[in-house]
Amino acid sequence: MNWLSNWSPSWQCFHRLGSPRWFYQTTGLWLPWLSLLAFVLLSTGLLWGLGFAPQDAKQGNSFRIIYLHVPVSFLALAGYYIMAIAGAVGLIWKMKLSYMVMKSAAPIGAALTFLALFTGAIWGKPTWGTYWVWDARVTSMLILLFLYLGVLALQYAFHSNEAGNKASAILALVGTVNIPIIYKSVDWWYTLHQPATIKFTSAPSMHPDMFHPLLVMILGFYCFYTVALFLFTRAEILRRERKSAWVIELAMARDKS
């Protein structure tokens, strides 16, 4: 396989990307800027959405929950792709780092899916008159939460990391079936949950004054997700690479200061 690593610059790049040490050092440089960006976007978007966006004609001020509910749900779904793709890369190329990213994506995804359900329930009370309905969208999101928790649980169910990683990755890949169901649930079963506000194919069904802060929140949540994923992966790297020289060096240097 030696010829592969000399084959082209893109393969070199791929291998370097797979190195936990390279990942740890590079994300260390990016994190301060990314965190700052996430903080600025989220605080701007939240203030704008909660205080300055006009209130909804029918729902009044309870509609402002949209500024959390939609971005959180977006990332709960996008995070599943990241987890499943990381699992697939791990299975195919046996890349350790990829499994670490998969494992890190699980608690973040679970937390965001919980928030999507929680903010949805709170929004449902004044709007639908109930906290919970077994609506198609709500139920498929609950399944998403269980998939995230399942991937997390499988990591701890095996004695060897290797077996846990493989089992988690396979569950993550099988669970991908749920994603298009979640997206399409509002169209296939037109029950209670409203159809998507934002579509890539057409203009949003929302006034620009309401839409712009939402866009800022979504961007902010993308940055926040990346920060969280980096932080969790870095912690995982330190645990799994604790025997390697660079981690020992880092730990001793930190200890002295």
Binding site: L115, I122, W123, R234, A235, R242, I248, A251
Partner: protein, 64 residues
Amino acid sequence: MKFQFESLQHMLAMGGHGLYVWTAVLVSLAVMLWLVVRPLEDSKLALKDVVRDVTRASNSKEET
């Protein structure tokens, strides 16, 4: 663009929906805070464990 409320009290009340909106905001912020603090604490702990293992290994070497 203008501020939609007459005062901060009105913003807190959110026209009767204050409890819903602010609960959603506070819980979301709490979960997001956890997503940042948890891995940072875990990293710190991991580095501490490395230091402990290294010092323990060098101590046992000195004894033998």
